[in-house]
Symmetry: C2
Subunit: 342 residues, 2 copies
DNA sequence: CTGTTAGCGCATTCAT
DNA sequence: ATGAATGCGCTAACAG
């Protein structure tokens, strides 16, 4: 059926549909959108639907956006897909956005300056709001952005003084839960492996860790690394495990760090979990395929994305910025990397 | 500096800039775009630039798109970010697109029917072309898409009869290289672990594997799994290793499958690489952090993305669809998962 | 119940 | 060297 409706290669417009249905384009617009004022007679209605169908008509988003000054798309900025957390967030956002008829444009730090990217997206009218899920953009830069585009920027798993619109998960509680588990296993000396204190999630997790240790009378040490990836975890483990009085358990601040810690211990000849227990924040399917299988603390990342989209949508509708904490409690996912203290 | 240029909360338009510079908006348009006919006097020119600068003017893409029927954005469909390959492709596309001033809209299979999604993107005028990097969409569905949108669809690492616009890497050669390495190590019986034969990349890798085995006189067996993820690799290893006459080496058709194979062998108590060698197609940083460190065949995935974007861009400019093979030869990245045959 | 009109922001003739 | 007029496709008053 390679039919070629005329020599017509351009997309059908409202006018095309109107012509085919023998009515005015404005009527078509109303009917197709289900506009309450578009109460066409059953007959015209049917003809319109029919025409739209045969032509494969889809409203042009540029024209519609121009008219309504609403693009119906959300932007999401991520550092990349290095961590499974980011894909989970992206899925959550996409799902929620789509449910409201919104599209999603994704952008990573891979290319160009993120501040610039965000400004462009907003100022060019590419998106109605931007979700920022990067710990790398500086606070001042973010404040500036929010200042210039009030009601159009939402922070994802990050809080910045002076910026209300943000949604986070209970990172601190997850770290605390980890400590509780370890403490229950008899560990009295735990080392936390985190990224820079300039990264909001890292300070929240770190605080949760420190407080829980204090509360439970556990000896806490901390290794702070410049990055939060495999490599950082690897090196942190090397560093922590080679001290004169090494901890009996390690808590990794991110999932990739946990993967690195496991490898670091292995290369040092330190057996996990026999000689040292390892736990990582954030869960991922991959954990089951590591050796040993890595126990984790699961946080609702997908919902994090969904809630962020939700907030952005409400802002677009004129809602007020607010701080939301995704209420789901962190869960301990026990696999094979923890055991009673040696 | 919470200055509020008037009560002005909406984005500045060409007219705003024109007013501030004391000229007509059409002149501003020409000057700002570097239109050859926009040869304003040095003075006006300066005033225009100045005005645009202070207002932070950015051309509205909807208006521009409407006028030019060109959105300046590319769409990319992926199954998800389960595999590092997809993020690499996305980065490659993003980079190349940006270099030509194009934006990128990413969409995964997470939500909704992909065929529908692609059609929508194109018909709604959200994008100028779509790159499809999914092995899951059926051939007929794809052909239909290309039929309806000639010159607007590019296949990424996939070939379909009747569709010219596609770019692939040398998958088959990578599989062959793997076999050569293993054969050189004395392995005479190798098991290939692949996904369904309905997936183009899988048949290309599989063919490369089979032919190389035949050529080198190696005994080839194949396990075909419905999926291509960790789980599939895990189960395939279990299956292959429990036969009466198990192979001495396994080649995993995807990186996640390789991860799964490693775990499968471990749980069977089969030592890698002492009892069985393991190799996986596609390289990733994670390989260094597995136990044992996983040897892989590296393929130019980032460039794959870049070339796909390149092709799409050329199609948009009216170029003709063509098949491109990224010429970079696959590379063996030796780590610790292969050894001489037992 | 349906048609007419106007304008969103921009790029492009065509004048001057 | 610069300005005026027009239309991309759509929606929202406002008629009738």
């Amino acid at each position: 059926m390679a039919q070629d409706n005329g020599a017509d290669r351009r997309r059908p417009t409202l006018t095309d549909v109107a012509a085919l249905a023998g009515v005015d384009s404005s009527l078509v617009s109303r009917v197709l959108r289900g506009d309450p004022k578009g109460f066409a007679s059953a007959d015209t209605r049917a003809r319109i639907m029919q025409a739209a169908e045969t032509l494969g008509y889809r409203a042009n988003v540029a024209a519609r956006g121009l008219r309504n000054s609403r693009t119906m798309t959300l932007g999401l900025v991520l550092p990349g897909f290095s961590s499974p957390v980011y894909s989970a967030i992206a899925h959550g956002v996409e799902e929620r956005a789509r449910a409201s008829g919104y599209g999603l444009v994704l952008s990573t730090h891979a290319v160009g300056d993120p501040h610039e990217t965000i400004t462009d997206m907003l100022m060019q009218g590419r998106v109605d709001a931007m979700l920022v899920a990067s710990g790398l953009i500086e606070d001042t830069s973010l404040r500036q952005l929010v200042d210039r585009h009030p009601g159009s920027v939402v922070l994802v798993n990050r809080q910045v003084r002076g910026i209300a619109a943000s949604v986070v998960v209970r990172d601190g509680d997850a770290a605390a839960l980890a400590v509780e588990h370890l403490s229950g296993l008899g560990h009295r000396s735990i080392c936390g492996v985190f990224g820079l204190r300039t990264v909001d999630t890292m300070v929240r997790r770190r605080n949760g860790f420190v407080r829980a240790c204090k509360r439970l009378g556990v000896d806490a040490t901390i290794v702070e690394m410049p990055d939060r990836d495999h490599v950082a975890g690897y090196e942190a483990a090397q560093r922590a495990l080679q001290t004169t009085n090494p901890p009996t358990a390690l808590l990794a601040g991110t999932f990739p760090m946990g993967v690195g810690v496991l490898a670091g211990a292995r290369d040092l000849g330190v057996a996990v979990p026999e000689q040292v227990s390892v736990l990582a924040l954030h869960n991922d399917q991959l954990a089951d395929y590591l050796s040993p299988r890595l126990s984790t603390l699961s946080l609702p990342t997908r919902r994090l994305g969904a809630e962020a989209a939700e907030l952005a949508l409400s802002l677009i509708e004129g809602g007020t910025p607010r701080r939301v904490v995704v209420p789901d409690a962190p869960e301990l996912v026990l696999r094979s990397s923890t055991a009673t203290a040696p």
